[in-house]
């Protein structure tokens, strides 16, 4: 006795013209409980079953936990978090060093202090005579010329 489905094959005519057929008419040697496999000998069909088994956790081999395989462990998120944490730590350390230095030697960062970068090189609007000018200035220029100011152009009279 050959069994058949009570409703049409879900895969349609891809499994054969007999829409009510079951396992190619050989239920002893083949099975197709969901009616989705057109041919039990079709290698594609077998691959799908094997992949399905792996997805269901049949393969219990743990993924390699080395850095190269962090992705298999959902690692990218961990790497990103780690990088952010690392950068945050660096930023905190740098901020701490700067804050500590400022606390220890506040005059160094004040106007005229050696750590005040504006003292060494600055560019912007300044005053010259009765005019506002755009200039480059700073002690770095003093290394090359006597006047550590270079007035690039006159903006106009001081307001």
């Amino acid at each position: 006795m050959t069994r058949s489905y009570t409703q049409q094959d879900p895969i349609g005519i891809a499994g054969g013209l007999n829409l009510y057929g079951f396992a190619n008419g050989d239920p002893v040697n083949f099975s197709d409980p969901f009616g989705l496999c057109p041919d039990e000998e079709d290698p594609d069909c077998e691959d799908e079953e094997e992949e399905g088994e792996q997805e269901q956790g049949v393969d219990e081999t743990p993924p390699d936990a080395s850095a190269a395989n962090w992705a298999a462990w959902g690692g990218p998120a961990r790497i990103v978090v780690g990088e952010i944490a690392g950068e945050t730590t660096k930023a905190v350390v740098i901020a701490g060093v700067v804050a500590g230095t400022q606390a220890a030697a506040p005059s160094a960062f004040a106007r005229g202090g050696w750590a005040n970068s504006n003292q060494w090189l600055r560019i912007g609007v300044g005053r010259h005579g009765g005019n506002k000018v755009f200039r480059i200035a700073g002690r770095v220029l003093g290394l090359f010329k006597k006047n550590p100011h270079i007035n690039l152009w006159k903006i106009g009279p001081l307001p």
Binding site: G112, N116, L158
Partner: protein
């Protein structure tokens, strides 16, 4: 204190007058210009000076120097550097003229 001028401008001008007076020099052609940023402009012999709200400038006798806030730890220090520059130029000039007059 002249209305519209900052404490820096008033104090620096006052100190400059005292120092000049000690050398027998006077500030001439003094006037206040500018409305948004009033500044003092004057001459000491042929050296022209500007005293801005928090900075200063000297031009004359081959020197063109701006005294900006970034280069000094305090307004007092900036003012002293400015006055020293004015005196260096004007007293030197004065000495040269005396020498010429004497010669």
């Amino acid at each position: 204190m002249t209305p519209g001028l900052t404490e820096f401008q008033t104090a620096t001008e006052s100190l400059l007058r005292q120092r000049l007076d000690a050398h027998g020099l006077v500030m001439s052609n003094r006037e206040v210009s500018g409305t948004a940023e009033p500044f003092i402009v004057a001459s000491v012999r042929d050296v022209k000076i500007w005293i801005y709200v928090d900075e200063a400038c000297v031009i004359g006798r081959g020197v063109d120097r701006v005294f900006e806030v970034w280069d000094y730890e305090s307004p007092t220090e900036l003012g002293e550097a400015f006055i020293k520059q004015v005196l260096d130029l004007s007293v030197e000039e004065s000495g040269t003229m005396e020498h010429r007059e004497g010669g």
